[in-house]
């Protein structure tokens, strides 16, 4: 009997038995349930994922992959950014030259810079859209409140990363965009040299602006500061917060929990790969077709007109038309960020987690409005704020020309056009009345008081009290705006103004249509009849406001009972401030009012 032939030597099984192979590849690659799991938890990068996820959470129209895309763009920015660092020297005499080198001499340098620039813009967009998606699908609700806060911080850091990167090319665009931002820091309350309530020891050499730009003017110190922040410090902190963000997603699980569970490998991992590929292709095409802007070398002596902030801050810059810098540049952004962080803690409504809101129709008096079927208040307020933000950005970016004058996108800018505006302040006492009655509009009538009223005055007493309260406030608001416009003298007359009264000064100008109308009424009907008609109109405006207030009265009371006094005050305060911004814009555009309250001695103007 011949002996059976010894098994033929084969290299693959042999290699697979070596320790070297095992320590690199760790597991088998046959597609079995066991290896699917092993791939995820045997790999430090994939281990960020859970092993299995609900099928519906993977559907693209649920998340649009926005969080993952934001992270992928961060990776792209890291890689292109590190490559750019090889060619960039953060000194004012060299930085601009290095930009030219990237464009004209470095192999693929222009593509690299374009990709970094466009990916940065895309990342800001992706992060904001990711936040909108998380809000609309209720994914911030318990147990995910903490992660929402981390997410808001990541959004702030994304903006700051982009802002610090803006200066590095050292061209006119960079210098003056950063100047706009740095000037806002100088207007911080307490800590800014030009802000209200400046602390006694604050000077140009130690205020918030100095801390930001490392000097009193933007120069080499600013450049190296922004370089370190942009390339090292902020990305480092960003990465830490990012890890926490991912870890919380793992711990809190996905907001969508319907559908069978499927393996992350291959279902989720393959989608991620495709999304990343698609994004890379888009970035490549964009970067080949369009060059990142580069203007003339930075020159502190020549201010471009207009100088615009980076696009994501241009909405705040547009608010500078209506507010002083300390409000538009410091208070409002702070309120936005704090307000966003507060959302999960003041929104106690458990509805709507894991699904997009469905839109229905709702009647508001005679008007039918589209409105979500559940979480109507939360969704409407959030979307109003978001849309306002982007509308302001659009106006600032596309409708503003030299001297920040209004130009339609199809109009050609002219540096010879200078529209003279007539803007006046409401006298401070009227302004105080206006502010006080506006914020008092947020006050509810709690149950206890209602019961007490009903006990004292019968069943109709609470409703009557509400009507009286809102009528009073509505009349006070309308009166506080319109009465001083009718009766106050113009304090600038005769030196700064050619007309003695506010009514005539604003009525004869081109930029206060409503006061113009009031003035025309007085002119055509004579003083007596004119003032009577105007007074009637004021009462009418007040009653309209009162009617609106009554409409929201029951809503306010219900919210108050749900939230309790503190949360209610936060929600109503933020809501009133947001609507107040709209209101102030209206006052400026329709009435020619510059300030409601003005204390120039302490730089406090509202």
């Amino acid at each position: 009997m011949p002996e059976p032939a010894p098994p033929r030597f084969s290299i693959k099984p042999y290699l697979k038995k070596t320790k070297l192979w095992k320590s690199i590849f760790r597991h088998d690659f046959t597609d079995s349930p066991r290896t699917r799991l092993q791939r995820v938890f045997g790999n430090v990068f994939l281990h960020l994922h859970p092993v299995r996820v609900p099928k519906d959470a993977l559907r693209i129209p649920y998340t649009w992959g926005l969080g993952g895309l934001s992270f992928y763009l961060f990776l792209v920015l890291t890689v292109t950014g590190i490559l750019l660092m090889f060619y960039y020297r953060p000194a004012s005499s060299l930085a601009y030259q290095d930009m030219k080198d990237l464009s004209f001499a470095v192999t693929l340098g222009r593509l690299l810079r374009n990709m970094h620039r466009w990916a940065a813009h895309l990342m800001v967009v992706a992060v904001i859209l990711h936040m909108v998606r998380v809000f609309l699908t209720g994914a911030y609700k318990p147990p995910r409140e903490y992660n929402w806060v981390i997410g808001v911080l990541l959004l702030v850091m994304t903006l700051f990363l982009s802002y610090t990167g803006y200066l590095l090319p050292w061209d006119q665009l960079a210098l003056w965009a950063v100047t706009v931002g740095a000037q806002m820091a100088a207007n911080s309350p307490l800590l800014g040299n030009e802000g209200p309530f400046r602390l006694p020891f604050i000077t140009t050499a130690n205020d918030a602006r100095f801390v930001l730009i490392g000097g009193t003017v933007i120069g080499d110190a600013t450049l190296i500061r922004f370089y370190v922040l942009h390339c090292v410090a902020v990305p480092f902190i960003f990465a830490i917060f990012l890890s926490v963000h991912f870890w919380r997603v793992r711990k809190d699980s996905f907001s969508k929990q319907t559908g069978d569970k499927v393996d992350v490998w291959p279902h989720l991992v393959s989608r991620e790969l495709l999304a990343a590929l698609l994004m890379t292709v888009i970035l490549f095409v964009w970067s080949i077709l369009m060059n990142a802007p580069l203007e003339g070398v930075a020159n502190l002596n020549v201010t471009p007109n207009p100088s615009k902030a980076p696009w994501y801050f241009v909405g705040l810059q547009e608010l500078l038309v209506y507010f002083d810098p300390w409000i538009a540049g410091v208070v409002l952004p702070t309120l936005i960020v704090v307000g966003l962080m507060a959302i999960p803690y003041v929104d106690l409504n458990p509805q709507g987690v894991g699904r997009w809101p469905k839109i229905g129709w709702k009647r508001l008096g005679p008007i039918a409005m589209p409105s979500p079927k559940e979480r109507a208040f939360a969704v409407n307020v959030f979307m109003l704020g978001t849309i306002m933000w982007f509308v302001l950005i659009f106006i600032g970016a596309y409708d503003r020309g030299p001297n920040w004058e209004w130009y339609w996108p199809w109009e050609t800018w002219s540096h010879r056009r200078m529209t003279k505006l007539t803007l006046k302040n409401i006298p401070n006492l009227w302004g105080l009345l206006l502010l006080a009655s506006y914020f008092a509009l947020g006050s509810p009538i709690p149950k206890r008081i209602k019961a007490w009223l009903a006990a004292r005055g019968g069943a109709k007493a609470p409703a009557a009290a509400s009507a009286a309260l809102h009528t009073g406030l509505g009349l006070a608001i309308a009166g506080a705006v319109l009465i001083p416009l009718l009766i106050s003298p113009d304090p600038a007359y005769p030196n700064g103004s050619r007309y003695p009264t506010l009514l005539e000064a604003l009525g004869r100008s081109q930029n206060a249509p409503i006061v113009h109308g009031m003035f025309r009424v007085v002119q055509t009907l004579g003083p007596l009849m004119g003032y009577v008609v105007n007074a009637g109109l004021i009462v009418l405006a007040g009653l309209t406001l009162a009617w609106l207030g009554v409409q929201f009265g029951r809503f306010k009371d219900r919210r108050y009972e749900e939230l309790g006094p503190i949360k209610y005050a936060i929600v109503m305060g933020l809501l009133l401030m947001m609507m107040g911004v709209l209101g102030k814009i209206g006052l400026r555009l329709l009435f020619g009012i510059k300030y409601i309250l003005s204390f120039p001695g302490v730089n406090l103007n509202i």
Binding site: S93, Q97, K100, D101, S103, F104, A105, T107, L108, L111, D171, Q172, S270, R271, L273, L274, L277, L278, T280, V281, F284, V285, I288, L294, E295, G296, N299, N301, V302, T303, P304, N305, P402, S414, H415, R416, K420, R498, Q510
Partner: protein
């Protein structure tokens, strides 16, 4: 399905990367280099390396890559007749070795760029366009303080500088060059007009046909000063706005070649801070000798730019909107008739000036031109000579002494010149 998308996307990515690489390896500058190589015999190619050529000029803080395409600029033995393969004409490279001077310090343009339009400065956001033709002479005056020795090579610059002095531009404009500052303060300081940022002339560009460059702007401004600043009449403005007069700069009626010569001179005024080893400041000019006091006065009249506003030889005729005496800068032919016996009043008027000039119509804005104060700027000796010259102008009047003096006295009693302006 996913596999198909994966393959398609990966394929697209690879293709895009190839496209980018292809674009990168066939950049604009590679074509002329290749074309030039093809004209050479094999042994002639030995010294030429393909790639971007650059001169790093540490002293001037410049990097010039012009020789990437202008390959034969310093190799006359290889040069061809057509651009960009010509050799540099003349012996200029001998005098200005390229490794020390580069190209752009004389010729302008963007030395760092390697694409034709960008390198020649014909792109937005690069404000030093190529100085084409004889405009390049502007660059000589950055270093050569004395133009006399190089006059043969820079005739247009020399002519422009002479015209600037002869037309009386110094009467209103100051220029600081080679540490020496001179001129009037009525209008803009022109010390770095040759580098004036485009941002500051955007409003003028709106009135100017293309191209919107500093060179074109200067040419137009010199030829037609009011074309770019036509002013605005009250009926064109919102109610209550004050009218704006057209530019007060007089129309000198310069011929195109004169305007180009002055432009060349103005472009040389860049306020650049070049290293002192490059600069040759002018020597002290010898004190001129004049044949007579009147001759000296005539020289002063031109030196201080009086003729800019008062006209050549003081003959007048320059427009000054809403000024008394016919909305013109006064003619000086009648100075003797006014001040014949009050020479001190005349000197005081020159010393103190008259600002603002009296208005013809008191409801309209003040005239833009006015007599500035010359105290401390015209030395007393020169002032004596100047008044003597002004008195001598009387001889140029037609010989009708009786009528002229009568009219002059009537005018003097109506509006006495020394009366303070309203």
């Amino acid at each position: 399905m996913k596999r198909v998308i994966f393959v398609l996307l990966s394929g697209a990515l690879v293709a895009l990367f190839m496209l980018a690489m292809w674009q990168d390896t066939t950049r604009e500058w590679t074509h002329p280099q290749q074309a030039f190589r093809n004209t050479l015999a094999k042994e002639e190619r030995s010294g030429l390396h393909p790639g971007i050529h650059q001169m790093i000029l540490a002293d001037l803080n410049r990097v010039d890559r012009c020789t990437t395409c202008h390959v034969a600029i310093d190799k006359p033995q290889l040069a061809l007749a057509e651009e960009p393969f010509t050799a540099h004409p003349g012996r200029f490279l001998e005098w200005h070795p390229p490794e020390r001077f580069g190209c752009t310090v004389c010729h302008g343009g963007q030395g760092l760029a390697t694409e034709v339009k960008a390198a020649h400065g014909d792109v937005p956001h690069w404000e030093e366009p190529l100085l084409r033709g004889s405009l390049v002479q502007a660059s000589c005056y950055q270093c050569h303080g004395d133009l006399a020795p190089i006059a043969a090579y820079a005739p247009q610059l020399v002519r422009g500088k002479a015209l600037f002095e002869a037309k009386g531009c110094y009467g209103c404009h100051t220029i600081k060059a080679f540490g020496h500052e001179f001129g009037g303060t009525i209008s803009q300081d022109l010390s770095d007009i040759g580098a004036k940022p485009y941002e500051l002339i955007k409003a003028d560009f709106e009135m100017l046909e293309e191209p919107h460059t500093r060179i074109h702007w200067l040419l137009r401004k010199l030829a037609h000063p009011r074309a770019l600043n036509p002013g605005s009449r009250p009926e064109e403005l919102p109610p209550g706005e004050e009218e704006v007069f057209p530019s007060a700069m007089p129309h000198f009626g310069l011929a195109p070649d004169e305007a180009e010569a002055i432009t060349t001179y103005l472009l040389s005024l860049r306020g650049l801070d070049l290293p002192s080893s490059y600069v040759r400041p002018p020597k002290e000019a010898p004190q001129p000798v004049y044949a007579s006091v009147v001759e000296r006065g005539r020289a002063m009249f031109e030196k201080f730019g009086c003729n800019g506003c008062h006209g050549a030889g003081g003959a007048g005729g320059r427009r000054n909107w809403n000024a008394g005496l016919g909305q013109e800068v006064p003619s000086l032919l009648y100075v003797k008739a006014y001040y014949g016996n009050r020479i001190d009043a005349l000197k005081d008027l020159i010393r103190d000036g008259r600002q603002p000039a009296p208005r013809a119509d008191p409801t309209r804005p003040f005239p833009s031109l006015y007599m500035p104060s010359w105290k401390g700027r015209i030395p007393e000796g020169d002032l004596d000579a100047l008044t003597a010259y002004l008195f001598s102008l009387h001889d140029q009047l037609p010989a009708q002494p009786a009528m002229v003096s009568g009219a002059a006295q009537a005018a003097a009693s109506d509006a006495p010149p020394e009366a303070p302006a309203p």
